[in-house]
Chain length 314, copies 2
């Protein structure tokens, strides 16, 4: 018996069960808390599971996270000691690149000003720098970051990447570690953040980081685009940096508290584009296929991909 | 004597003269109406010239338009009978592609709804189609259209192009002429218009064209993006098509009357993004270099590029 357990909140478990059944009608799918005999459960698919939902699964072989970020699962003291696989599929990667390219272009082309001009019925032509004079820096250059980097380069931007450990990527200047952070920030006009949330990255988007960004760029001030995790943000620091010009503008898709509270000052901030954690809101069908293919590969002895290193948290 | 005449309105003639002098201090630059001896003028650079400004230049060799579109010049009954060169440079091409990719992504990612959600403090996740399920159609696939097509394909969209006469482009489905228009429109969810304004295209963006666009697409209705010329538009038809759902939304960078009049209903239309004819507002320095290089090539007998066919108007 190799049943699949679905342990998720805020997602439609029944729809997920249907997707797995459509891919393989012979495999049983169970929805927590109706797990039947726990010994039957070989795979679990989790998204913000209720506390204890993953306990006592003695024959569990693989745990799948239904997203790219696994910080919520990693923090679970009852997390079973089996491979934890996160989702890194081409569909999600392409959607993240859409979000990144869209938001870089929104700030590059000063669309916040253009929208204000439209509201005020103002026909104005502002100076417009060439993309080749604008430096985008991506923090976090895994699969998602690399795809975004390639697409931004193709749009003409100067692109660099920063990661915790050194990486070499064709055509993209890379920086790494603590030592590489200051020079990376100093050459960055638009900062795109795709970092995982780990103890090392919590609160990393703070005043001291913003103050290190390029202040001599052609856009008139640095831009922050965060599509990683809300926990990366010191939100008071973002607000004060926007107020005093340390940051010119921002696109925030994630927040410390989600849903973003009704009284958050971000909603009405004229320099901020708020979206509702939708940067890479992937097609559930594509994700189910990804998990299904991983199960088949695992059973055929071909191994798993995108297994999380619990020490680093990604 | 091979002096350059600058005959422009709405542009800074003195700044243009400086650019040409910086590129070649030995070449004389004159600003209309101070043209000196007309027989000295070998080149003229024109942008919306005053009536008659280009008359009596008996030794004129080449006329340069300071933009990609030459409809305003072609309509001049006094246009000298010399090669008319339009601007098609990599800088302008890249900027147009920025505008096209930005606006396609704005509608694809339903950002008009996201901005409304932000204004209303609504944290909502809407369904989001994959780019691979969205069909973009580009009317006008010259240099600008081809570059935009390549970049949209790289973002994952299904891209096709339509042109007056048949063209074959790698990786892009092409349609041509009157016969090709209906099948092109029927497979198009997002219509990007980069056509020149000619007697054949004036008013082409009308109800009957909009009604031919795909009504079965994943975006919930067709989208119009016009970065060509305002004269392509039947603006009453655009408004009524938006009102009755024949069009779901639009990005308009050009208008029949520019500047767009204060009382135009487009300014406050919730389904329309208005920009101020800035889609490919190029770096004047890059344009001056382009013209300078053409003059050098011409004098060296290597010929001119991007010479306008006066019969077709582009």
């Amino acid at each position: 018996m190799t049943a699949i357990l679905l342990a998720m909140t805020g997602m439609d478990s029944a729809a997920w069960a249907e997707r797995f059944r459509a891919l393989d009608p012979t495999r049983e799918v169970r929805i927590w808390p109706d797990i039947g005999n726990p010994a039957d459960i070989a795979y679990a698919c989790a998204w913000k599971p209720k506390a204890g939902a993953l306990k006592g699964l003695d024959n569990l072989k693989v745990l799948f996270s239904l997203g790219a970020g696994v910080d919520a699962l990693i923090g679970d003291p009852d997390l079973p000691n089996v491979p934890l696989v996160r989702i890194v599929d081409p569909d999600m990667t392409a959607r993240m690149a859409e979000f990144v390219v869209l938001n870089v272009l929104l700030h590059h082309r000063r669309m916040l000003r253009a929208f204000a001009d439209q509201r005020a019925h103002r026909w104005l032509q502002h100076d417009q720098p060439a993309a080749s004079s604008v430096r985008v820096g991506i923090m976090g250059i895994g699969q998602l970051g690399q795809d975004s980097a390639v697409k931004l380069r193709m749009m003409g931007f100067q692109v660099a990447g920063w990661s915790r450990s050194p990486r070499s990527l064709p055509g993209i200047e890379t920086f790494a570690g603590e030592d590489g952070l200051a020079p990376f920030l100093a050459r960055t006009d638009i900062l795109v953040v795709l970092l995982p949330l780990t103890p090392a990255t919590r609160g990393i988007l703070n005043r001291s980081l913003f103050a290190g960004l390029a202040q001599d760029g052609v856009l008139g001030g640095p831009v922050l685009i965060n599509a990683g995790r809300g926990g990366l943000q010191n939100e008071a620091d973002i607000l004060s940096a926007l107020d005093d010009g340390t940051l010119a503008s921002a696109s925030l898709d994630v927040f410390v508290t989600e849903p973003l509270p009704q009284d958050s000052p971000f909603w009405d901030h004229e320099k901020v584009i708020v979206t509702s954690h939708v940067a890479a809101d992937s097609d559930p069908q594509a994700l189910a296929r990804y998990i299904h293919e991983q199960m088949i590969a695992f059973e055929a002895g071909r191994g798993l991909t995108n297994v999380v290193d619990r020490a680093t948290g990604y």
